[in-house]
Symmetry: C2
């Protein structure tokens, strides 16, 4: 498992904040944040980069947990000599508010009654997630981030950082993302929510310690997976290949693609909380930093590197183009690249070579300007 | 309701066939077909056109049922002076085998035990649907159809007619369709099936006279609706408009698009049978008339008019192009038109003006050749 390109063995850390005031005005007490860091913070604290994870991601972005065979979700991008070079940069990744991988969410214990929150968990926004991340970077003693980067919902958090704390970031790398969900994106999320809530075991969110709504959550995940791939990448991977030689003439999966989706669903329900799925999709749907909601003209200069992928039909290239159009009204510098790829939305996790070239160069230039003290 | 452009009041008719041998070798007894006809069969019986309906359609393609406010599903295309001109042509439409609108399907009574078939219903194919339609046209005394036309799954039946009974059709109009489902299309169907089967009320298909699996079926339909529209048509119709002034901070629908989908789901479950959904989607997934499965070189000449729509991402234009490429190896004549439209897959039900021009001209030319005795 240990190799020169890997950050090696890592451990998730936890910090608890006494309270967090949400956009809605509600307050959360004893908020835990699960996070990991890779590399070393330099003396001038100018080399810190925050990585924001996508919808169902977690704090474990790189390296290996002790004994684990699989590395973190963006290990191909984070490590010695990689795009986010841990020989140079101090990289942080934390699980989002509302998540289920260590950070406080609906499956957490409510300190006010020692029961799981379930639907007593307050509604959260992408902005609330970012405010909590800001508390984490404050806790780590970082005055200003060299960069904040992430794909998909991670990219939304990146954009939100630019809106909420423009003076706290030197650069932003939103990848495969949008300033707001289109009705089609809202529609997919709503179908997923209805699939979960249709499961009798969901029980109005009160399923902890009982039967989990695994069927509904699995359906939601299966549909999600269709939107993460492209028509072409599905054709390349599965075509009409059968699991067995002949049609089963049953409602069992006949085609490889069916087997794949059912497997993905069954694996997902073991690691993800159905209520987190509901809360976080709602946060994404509410997110809107378009037009006048975005950066004000008089905000600090931020350097933007915006990346989209040609075959991504979940977060389409035109949505990245909208970011660059909106940035034209600000003092920020921005570069936009649409990478050719057939992998659909998943491309931001797959097209490592192109992403690495772009991000390495972008960060390197920036870091030289800042001075690597 | 009656107007000079409408075929007026119509009634669904029924015919029962003693038996139907399926592709699988199984036999169905006492098979009922629900059908409607519009216009008059001419003396030489050369003016008959069969319309094949899409997945959840029915035999009621045109005119009004007594007292009804809404006409049949393709009334804009079928009637006096319309694309399928009932002043000239004798138009037939029947509910497909496996359906739930009058033709025998899983919700029908099994004559062998007087119970609903449920999952005792045998697996069916698009070819079985077409064999039953052939029985209907035989029953109506039609030797050779002037044309067979349909969109989506209707288009699959059109292609299957050309494969199964090339000598029985003079022309074929497959619209917004494919020679085989891509893995993405199979994937959407599989998620829909899993959504239905995840509903505890589905009860292994044995829900007749009990609680219906309305939640699962509604989720399936909601997802279907996303695939019937385009990103652009959803933006044009809904954008991010809210149902109420503010976010609800609840899991109720906030956005117009959510309200629309939930409404579509709730209406659908009142008219469609969940087991029919399962059987028919499987028939679509199994369907494959691509390559060597298509027309043989020595088959009769058939005139093809193939239509696709630019923004259709469920049945993509490249899939129609595959039909025309395959036809190049046959004796058939073929014209292919991709109509510009932003309506996605629904376009074949909406872009009436363009479709009418193409189809009227195509049929008219053909009918002159045949001679209108």
């Amino acid at each position: 498992m240990e190799n020169p390109n890997s950050i090696g063995t890592v451990e998730t850390q936890y910090v608890t904040f006494d309270n967090l005031t949400l956009c809605s005005g509600k307050e959360l007490r004893k908020v835990i944040v699960a996070y990991e860091t890779y590399g070393k913070l330099n003396a001038s604290k100018s080399n810190a980069i925050l990585i924001d994870h996508a919808f169902t991601g977690d704090a474990h972005a790189a390296g290996f947990h002790k004994g684990a065979e699989k590395p973190g979700w963006w290990d191909s991008m984070i490590g010695p000599g990689k795009a986010f070079d841990t020989n140079k940069y101090f990289v942080i990744c934390s699980n989002v508010l509302g998540g289920c991988a260590g950070t406080t969410g609906p499956s957490s214990i409510n300190p006010q009654n020692n029961k799981r929150y379930a639907l007593d968990f307050p509604f959260i926004t992408i902005s609330d997630m970012v405010v909590l991340q800001k508390k984490l970077t404050d806790f780590l003693g970082i005055e200003k981030l060299l960069s904040v980067a992430g794909g998909s919902m991670g990219g939304m958090q990146v954009l939100q950082w630019a809106v909420s704390f423009p003076e706290k970031i030197r650069s932003a790398i939103p990848i495969s993302t949008t300033m707001k969900h289109s009705p089609q994106q809202i529609a997919f999320n709503e179908v997923a929510r209805q699939a979960i809530m249709a499961d009798a075991d969901w029980n109005d969110g009160d399923y902890y310690g009982k039967r989990q709504p695994v069927k509904g959550l699995s359906v939601a995940r299966m549909m999600g997976h269709i939107t993460y791939m492209s028509d072409k990448s599905m054709e390349d991977k599965f075509s009409r290949d059968l699991k067995n030689r002949n049609y089963s003439f049953s409602f069992n999966p006949d085609f490889e693609v069916e087997g794949y989706l059912n497997y993905q669903g069954s694996v997902f329900v073991k690691r993800f909380d159905a209520n987190s799925y509901l809360y976080i999709t709602k946060a994404m749907d509410y997110f809107d930093v378009s037009g006048n909601n975005f950066l004000k003209k008089d905000t600090d200069n931020i350097n933007f590197l915006i990346i989209s992928f040609a075959s991504d039909w979940l977060y389409l290239p035109y949505q990245s183009e909208e970011i660059i159009r909106t940035l034209a009204l600000s003092n920020c510098k921005a570069t936009y690249i649409e990478i050719k790829s057939s992998y659909g939305h998943d491309a931001f996790l797959i097209e490592i070579e192109d992403e690495t070239k772009l991000i390495r160069h972008f960060l390197s230039k920036l870091y030289k300007e800042v001075g690597s003290a």
